[in-house]
């Protein structure tokens, strides 16, 4: 809208807040969207993997250490 007092084109307040809000929404959607999920090889990068030790396995603390 044209402001006669200052001789300038000014955005309407409602339009300003509408477009700012839309930009902010777009920003947060973009950072949460996993873009690379749809990569060519289809490998999911964010798949959770849990590491657990098998309790029945027997470990040793040193490389050369036998019970013989």
């Amino acid at each position: 809208m044209f402001d006669k007092l200052t001789n300038q084109n000014k955005i309407k307040r409602s339009s300003f807040f509408a477009s700012t809000g839309l930009a902010a929404t777009g920003f947060f959607v973009a950072i949460s969207l996993p873009f690379k999920l749809f990569g060519k090889n289809g490998i999911s990068k964010n798949e959770k993997v849990t590491v657990q030790i098998n309790p029945d396995a027997v470990s040793r603390k040193k490389i050369g250490e036998t019970n013989a």
Binding site: E47, V51, K61, G64
Partner: protein, 1015 residues
């Protein structure tokens, strides 16, 4: 200020007449006066219409620009949140954060070497050899080391799959799939169930197979693409039974090798290399062995030969027959043979003389791809030489491999509907079996095809059920390949996905109730078997629980079995050789050095490991001689067409120095189509040329060869210079990069290497050397023992988090290996001598890279290390430019993201990284650090135990993995240490010493054990 135009005009009438710019102004021309009131010339803005201007203001443009930039920035996030790091609530007893644990286990292959798996916070990060294992003795091959990458392969199957009606696979629960399969097995009627597996080396698995076979009328079909069947058949014909023995390479003084790559890809090459290298000790020069190699294409064993003769593989029977006659006293046939095949008569005379003079300590060894007749003749030669004392008859075969007749019988049964189910027990027969047998089409006639596999493969793609199995590092088991000991296998990590151990799946089917499965069933089965068959014979007074725990801890149990010793040779099996048509082409198929038979095709480390001879990565090729290339009208990378047995096949060529004429050598294990992102489409599948029909050898056969269409880029990590170019011929020798001598020369003149002393020019002027009074790290590499196998390269990759870069980047010379094996030829193109030399950062005292870094990202430590500070590096690459050894590697990309669209960025892949080593990103230079993380670990241990660190406390990854112990590492200033013997050896030299950069890697010059007349 005038308000109207008239008033302006009136005012101008009154302007000062002393100042004017034109006559019109002086004379007050009305037109001029009117024009002077306008800012612009007339009609300049006549067409100006504000309404036509863009409504897109400058402010709006800048606002949108900023918003777009912000949005783009959010999409460029390379560092995703990896989650929270929280301490243990209940810490597992075995885990101390920051301290490694080790688990003894067994490698998954048919040789069953003992391995030691290093884990950090519960995840395996490195595989080395188990020093307590009697066969591997602390060393293990490239495949075993690289197999840890397969554990964290993002493309591992995660859930059971069933082929749906629409032709797509759908996930199914384990309980349902067990139920369905048990139902299928129970309703087989009189039909057979076929289990196709690899070689069976586990006694407990064999027991399970027997039980399964009994319950479900099953037949077991173990196979290997490359096997010892021809050699064993000849042995049985020669001696009436048993298996071909291991050879005591350490006791052999003369080794004559016929088309056998025993140091590179045949048999237990780790043990072979270790024993062979014991006869290449420069500190025991009087017991140096001598290696003759007669082969069709340059192999790793051929690279290390003292005498090498090129001979097409189909002529080996003729040669062996002539050699037998020569050993028995008549040289005439051998002389005619040498003329026919243009072999050096002098070399053959030396060969026969050496064999006769070293009776009992000389061995003739034929490759497993040669025909049964060749092996029989070779057995006769060894018998005549008294070489049977070099046999070590400990080999044990739990289950014989199938013959081609067994395979044909199976396929016939499948075609005629007599097979209810086929189970692929971690095998890939659709890829491996010769196409002319029709196994793939026979599968369609089987009711149920079940594949147990870790990743998708060609056989799984044709299956009704695909069952994901545990990786060997997640599995229980045992291994028996020799008499006298049995190895144990234990899981070092719980299954990462919803997978099961393949033996446990089979056991569940034997038990017959899908609901009764639990994770421990195979563990208990294994323990029960050991309690009944292993524990009882060897136990003294310990209880089984203690015995079992000790067995898992040590990884091996020594038993009291003895091997048989008496042999009685039956010479009636000798046959006359068929004469070879010299004008025909012969194809020789070999196992790949890295991917073996294709099972490791999806392993990026192995695909990127340069071929030990040609240095080609990421592909296979047809190796031919220069003469053959000229005959066919091809050059490197041109495609040739090969026709054999009704099949046609195209492959690019590589002109290999030392290759026999009209011999086409191709490595199998490539050209897989369903191997995952890394392995699919890499190389060419030459298995199509194999025939399942009986012949003298399935791996050596005649073919017709012609020039094909087009070319294909083969990427090699090291070119070799043209032989006949005087500027580059023998350049490595002329520049002193490779220094060699002969054993005779060394015996006569121990200081022959340094007889020409000269003062080195120094670019540092009168700068005095820095005094290293304390511990100073250095390395020595014995080129007599270094075979060029590349085990050290894989070990370094595993230890130091080195990324895979892919074929396109290797083509630009951007492979990231910190350690490379340079291979140099000298002599003629047909009969070259080859030398290998591991090259890594020399940690120079006067490092030329340190002075030129503008940001001081590369420095020198007080203990002699050339250090790299990754977070200072800005990537000018000046250091690499200045490095005379070209050992610095630059991260042109973040290769974890760049290679295969982020394959190395999968969450599960991140588990492989060694937490002690920084993972470098884009724009950063890196290089060998002498395993500084291991040095720090040793230093901390020394501090903790209140002692001084010594050189022998640290073993670098490359040193630890070298099967021949060619690499030594230690304190340069410790004159009493074992390392000092090599640091100050008479044969020690430095590469490019004349530059006076003072490298700290000493190379022990290679000695060829040739006869004195050639010294």
């Amino acid at each position: 200020m005038p308000e109207t135009k008239d008033e302006k005009v009136n005012q101008s009438v009154k302007a000062d007449p002393n100042y004017w710019r034109s006559f019109e102004e002086l004379h007050r021309d009305p037109k001029m006066i009117e024009q002077s009131h306008n800012e612009f010339q007339q009609s300049v803005t006549d067409e100006f219409d504000p309404k036509k201007l863009s409504s897109f203001s400058r402010r709006k443009f800048l606002a949108l620009l900023g918003a777009s930039a912000a949005l783009a920035g959010t999409g460029c996030n390379d560092y995703p949140d990896r989650g929270e790091i929280i301490p243990y609530n209940i810490k597992p007893d075995e885990v101390t954060p920051g301290i490694a644990n080790y688990y003894a286990s067994t490698a998954a292959c048919e040789h069953g070497c003992g391995i030691l798996v290093r884990t950090r916070e519960g995840r395996p990060i490195k595989i080395d050899g188990n020093p307590d294992h009697p066969v591997s003795k602390g060393k293990v091959c490239t495949q075993a080391q690289a197999s840890i990458l397969d554990l964290y392969n993002p493309e591992r199957l995660k859930n059971p799959l069933k082929l749906g009606g629409s032709g797509l696979y759908v996930e199914i629960s384990w309980e349902n799939v067990d139920k369905e399969i048990i139902q299928i097995l129970n309703s087989r009627g009189s039909r057979e169930v076929a289990v196709v597996s690899g070689r069976i080396v586990s006694p407990t698995a064999k027991k399970l197979f027997d039980e399964f076979a009994q319950k479900y009328n099953a037949k077991i079909y173990p196979y290997e693409l490359f096997n010892e069947s021809l050699r064993n058949r000849a042995w049985q014909k020669s001696y009436g039974g048993g298996l071909y023995p291991q050879i005591k390479w350490d006791e052999a003084k003369i080794i004559v090798n016929l088309e056998s790559d025993f140091l590179g890809s045949e048999g237990n090459r780790i043990e072979n290399a270790r024993l062979f290298a014991q006869g290449r000790d420069v500190n025991n020069i009087n017991n140096f062995n001598r290696l003759y190699v007669i082969e069709g294409n340059m192999s790793l064993t051929g690279l290390n030969a003292d005498y090498r003769l090129r001979l097409r593989p189909d002529a080996q029977h003729e040669f062996a027959s002539a050699l037998l006659k020569a050993v028995n006293g008549s040289m005439s046939e051998l002389n005619s043979f040498s003329k026919k095949f243009d072999l050096s008569e002098a070399a053959l005379r030396s060969l026969v003389k050496d064999l006769k003079q070293n009776s009992g300590k000389a061995i003739v060894y034929a490759g497993s791809t040669l025909s049964e007749e060749v092996h029989f003749t070779v057995n006769a030669i060894n018998e005549a030489l008294g070489s049977t004392s070099l046999y070590n008859r400990q080999a044990v075969e739990l289950y014989p491999l199938i013959s081609s007749g067994d395979l044909v019988s199976l396929i016939n049964s499948m075609n005629s509907g007599r097979v209810a189910a086929v189970i692929h027990f971690d095998s890939n027969p659709v890829y491996h079996f010769p196409k002319d047998l029709g196994y793939e089409s026979a599968l369609k006639k089987v009711t149920a095809v079940i594949s147990m596999t870790e990743t998708n493969n060609e056989s799984a793609a044709l299956s009704n059920y695909i069952l994901p199995i545990n990786h060997p590092l997640e599995s229980w088991g045992d291994n028996k390949t020799r008499a006298g000991f049995i190895s144990s296998q234990q899981p070092v990590i719980a299954p990462l996905f919803n997978t099961r151990q393949k033996e446990a799946i089979l056991l569940n089917w034997v038990n017959g109730d899908a609901k009764k499965y639990n994770d421990k069933i195979y563990h208990e089965y294994l323990m029960n078997n050991w309690q009944s068959s292993v524990f009882t014979p060897v136990s003294a007074d310990s209880n089984f629980k203690q015995f079992w725990s000790n067995a898992l801890h040590d990884g091996v149990v020594i038993t009291n079995e003895s091997s048989s010793s008496s042999l009685s040779f039956n010479s009636s099996g000798e046959t006359s050789p068929k004469l070879v048509d010299l004008n025909s082409f012969v194809v020789a198929l070999k196992p790949a050095y890295s991917t073996v038979d294709g099972r490791y095709a999806d392993n990026g480390w192995l695909q990127e490991l340069p071929h030990p001879v040609s240095k080609i990565t990421w592909d296979n090729y047809a190796a031919i001689s220069r003469l053959t290339a000229d005959e066919l009208g091809v050059k490197n990378n041109d495609v040739i067409d090969i026709k054999a047995g009704g099949e046609s096949f195209s492959i690019p060529v590589f002109i290999q120095p030392g290759s026999a004429d009209r011999t086409i050598t191709i490595e199998l294990g490539y050209g897989r189509e369903k191997s995952g992102v890394v392995g699919s489409g890499v190389g060419f599948n030459a298995i199509v040329l194999m025939s399942g029909q009986s012949g003298t050898s399935p791996w050596i056969f005649k073919a017709s060869v012609s020039k094909g269409t087009g070319s294909y880029e083969l990427v090699t990590a090291q070119e070799h210079h043209v032989f006949d170019d005087e500027r580059t011929k023998d350049a490595a020798q002329k520049r002193g990069i490779i220094r060699e001598g002969t054993v005779e020369e060394y015996k006569k003149h121990p200081h022959f290497l340094h007889k020409e002393g000269h003062e080195l020019f120094s670019i540092y002027g009168s700068q005095t050397n820095m005094e290293y009074t304390g511990l100073k790290w250095g390395m020595a590499i014995d080129l007599n023992k270094c075979l060029g196998c590349g085990d050290c390269v894989i070990a370094c990759n595993s230890e130091n988090n080195i990324p895979v870069v892919g074929k396109d980047q290797v083509a630009k010379g951007r492979e990231m290996h910190w350690l490379r094996i340079d291979r140099y030829y000298s002599g003629s193109e047909n009969e070259p001598k080859a030398s290998t030399q591991p090259m890594l950062c020399q940690h120079c005292d006067h490092a030329p890279c340190e002075n030129v870094c503008p940001v001081v990202a590369t420095t020198h430590s007080p203990d002699g290390l050339n250090q790299m500070v990754y977070n200072r590096c800005v990537g000018t690459r000046y250091c690499s430019n200045n490095c005379p050894y070209k050992v610095r590697r630059f991260n042109f990309f973040n290769f974890r993201d760049h290679f295969k669209d982020g394959y190395q960025e999968a969450n599960v892949f991140n588990l492989i990284y060694n937490p002690e080593v920084t993972v470098r990103s884009r724009g950063v230079m890196e290089k060998c650090s002498f395993c500084i993380q291991r040095i720090m670990e040793a230093r901390e241990d020394a501090i903790e135990h209140n002692r001084t660190i010594v050189g022998s406390d640290v073993k670098t990854a490359c040193q630890e993995s070298c099967p021949t112990s060619a690499i030594k590492f230690g304190d340069v200033n410790d004159k009493e240490s074992e390392f000092a013997k090599f640091r100050n050896h008479q044969l020690g030299y430095y590469v490019l010493e004349e530059l006076n950069v003072r490298p700290n890697v000493t190379y022990i010059a290679k000695l060829r054990n040739t006869h004195s007349e050639e010294a």
